[in-house]
Symmetry: C2
């Protein structure tokens, strides 16, 4: 007891990060020295998430050895926190029976997500070895489409009947708690398993023991369907500050719940996908920093090739104006300024519009209002930048006509970029394509190609060529 307390007071003075590093280095030392008993004992007071990270930090050859130190219950918990690549390696290295025990005890939603990552051959082998009930639960989850509520829900929930008393309900919770991921919300169903209400453990604990569930439950239940998109699920949980959301099928029968911890993970995963897409990197749910480099190059090259073609078009237009450029060579110097600024204005507009779509901040504005606002903002920006660019170009080159051509082109390009930057995401959403992924190449194309055409034509008019 005293020893544990000492360890605890040491732990309390370290940041979690320092603690994790300490556990990892000690674990590695003890394993290298062959002191399995010592290695086992240092893991006892550590949180499963931290054990998982310590194992991930070890050399690959030690993963299975370290994992075998854990008790069976601990092993299951720790396993769920490991990266998919480590989970996959462990499946190959552990004995068939060990794997089977762990996978059988995982919660069905975590298992379904693991199975998504594993090769089909391994999944089939594992499915065969699961107990019938677990096999059925997993198959049910795997039957729903990826990225829907059905796929991310857990089947472990506690349901109540309306006519129970509070004390009967608490008794039921006590009995079922071990088999349930979430016991803070209880779901009330009628005889047909239709969801009729919801009651929180908080309400149960603060109610009189003899009160009837039907009287204290909330009837206006917020729920989703099995095929509701996971982004919508996260929006609802976030909006109502819930800890879980019930999932029903088309007959309104309760089939599962989505919990807030999964929602945070999804939020992060979806955000990474959006940010990658905006940055021109395809994502596949894997950790970028663990992918091999050829895979990375493959995920990045497609988008670059699209833009290579775009840039060639721009280049060809520039080349077609050789006569103009030969007469006024100084016009060439401003091409990067015009296409660069146009690209940046367009990127700004598409960034705020795409983010606004995902967070629902746009909600109160219509599509035309958004585009109109961006067009005006683009005109304001173009006005400021155009004025500065005119003065700057005159100062640099000393030819007023060229400076005016640059300035007026910049105004036109800013408006064009704002409109295409805000309109194209809506178009792609309407066409059911991912706006974050599709917008950038098309905006760049529009702005570059149309932009240089505007510039050359304005220059011809203003310079009277």
């Amino acid at each position: 007891m005293t020893e544990t307390n000492n360890l605890n007071s040491t732990i309390q003075n370290l940041s979690r990060r320092e603690l994790r590093d300490l556990v990892r280095t000690q674990l590695q030392m003890l394993l290298e020295a062959g002191d399995l008993q010592g290695a086992k004992s240092i893991l006892v007071p550590v949180q499963p998430a931290d054990i998982a990270e310590a194992i991930e930090g070890l050399p690959e050859a030690m993963h299975a050895l370290a994992f075998r130190l854990l008790s069976k219950d601990e092993a299951i918990e720790v396993y769920e926190y490991l990266d998919y690549s480590v989970q996959e390696r462990l499946i190959e290295e552990l004995k068939s029976q060990e794997v089977c025990d762990i996978v059988d005890q995982m919660s069905p939603d975590d298992r379904a997500r693991l199975f998504d990552e594993l090769p089909a051959k391994v999944v089939n082998r594992l499915l065969e070895q699961l107990s019938p009930a677990e096999r059925q639960a997993t198959a049910q989850l795997l039957g729903y489409e990826a990225d829907t509520a059905g796929r991310i829900m857990t089947l472990e929930l506690i349901s109540l009947k309306e006519n129970l008393t509070v004390s009967q309900a608490l008794e039921r919770i006590r009995n079922l708690a071990n088999a349930s991921e979430m016991i803070y919300y209880l779901y009330v169903m009628d005889a047909a398993r239709r969801l009729t209400g919801i009651v929180s453990l908080r309400e149960l604990v603060t109610s009189q023991p003899e009160q009837i569930i039907g009287e204290i439950m909330t009837r206006d239940v917020v729920f989703v369907y099995t095929d509701t998109d996971q982004e919508e699920v996260t929006r609802l949980i976030q909006r109502y500050d819930f800890l879980a959301l019930p999932v029903v099928d088309r007959e309104q029968l309760l089939v599962g719940i989505v919990t807030v911890d999964d929602v945070i993970d999804i939020l992060q995963q979806e955000t990474t996908e959006d940010i990658y897409a905006l940055g021109g990197v395809q994502s596949g749910g894997d950790n970028y920093f663990q992918m091999n480099l050829l895979e990375i190059a493959r995920k990045r090259v497609v988008w670059l090739l699209v833009l290579l073609i775009t840039n060639t078009v721009t280049g060809t237009i520039i080349k077609s104006q050789e006569d103009l450029l030969a007469k006024v060579v100084t016009l060439t110097a401003f091409i990067p300024l015009l296409t660069g600024t146009g690209g940046n204005v367009g990127a700004q507009s598409s960034t705020v519009v795409i983010r606004g779509m995902n967070t629902d901040e746009i909600r109160s504005l219509g599509v035309l209002q958004v585009i109109g606002r961006e067009a005006i903002a683009g005109a304001l920006l173009g006005g400021m930048l155009g004025t500065i660019a005119t003065v700057w170009a005159y100062f640099l080159q000393g030819r007023l006509e060229v400076a005016i051509a640059v300035g007026t082109s910049l105004v036109a390009i800013s408006i064009l970029a704002s409109i295409s930057g805000s309109a194209l995401p809506f178009l792609f959403r309407y066409l059911r394509l991912d706006p974050a992924l599709m917008s950038a190449p098309f905006i760049t194309t529009a702005v570059d190609v149309v932009g240089v055409l505007i510039y050359f034509n304005l220059a011809r008019v203003i310079l009277k060529l």
Copy 2:
């Protein structure tokens, strides 16, 4: 009862979004007709978050009128869900006493966040009118720095002593539940208010009534300090799948908790800031789609001006090569391709590195490893793109030397872009500047300026000019 059931079954068949629209249009109709009683009754079965959205959707002149329909308890709940701009307007329009009642009853963390948004004059007036206890709580929260755990925590928590029995603890929870935001985690403190353990309501409910808290509590408590950055708080909650995290001061005394619903909001707000920064838009926490357009132009123009200067530098370099370009005009046509591709490769690298920093996915790799990986990926990409560009340029222009100059430049530029794209975010983090905001302009500058220099010099060598 039957009426409510009918309404409920209607509600059940609508999506939440349809429901919200229905409530808003009906509410507006009834208010316009002057039927306050009718308006009041349609709001009764609706969730506070939905009422808030319905009010936001009304014409501004109706906001105060609609808000006054709510009972006092409801008003407080709904108020916390309203946008800051609407909250602010209501403070101006409602009578001083009404405002005071609402603000006094808000939870301290929500109130502190509202006060951050209000003009100092209004905050001082409101602070004066708060009850002494609430004033002290708010002042305490406002005393912590923005974006720290201290600022976002709530002071409402339930603490227990180690020597209580489970049934005594449950009795205490029953008594304190109404004044507490979170009753699912209970915090165990010693006589000096030092945090010694944590026990969940789940553990209490499933334990025997006569068990002692000290025996069932978890002693390895994950906690943060009042000055821990809010991003670190969200990472910990996400990592351990907690519903709340205790906050202690430097003497390890428990001062508050951060709850998971706040963490989701922060996650979203931080993500929006990151995405905006990556897209070149300054953010200030306000909703972009409610800002006025001049404000928007101001937030976007700074970054554009920086890039305008960058682009001018590139332009000047191009102009300095007039002799070369006059001799081989066709070289000009490939400038957009080279700078464009370089910019895109750099953006890809900085996107994944910045996101990796924020999600901690980089954790196991060192800085040099990350940069090295990106450099190799850049070389692979450059190799693919350079080969294609060489063939493509030869096909377009028919001069092999020009095509080779373009291809080799592209390889060099890809490597340069990958290295600067991955190294600059680390440099900015080290200098305590926001990598997401600072990286893009500097990467563009490096890639454009150095890129065209590489191109022109390679062209001179290869074309023997």
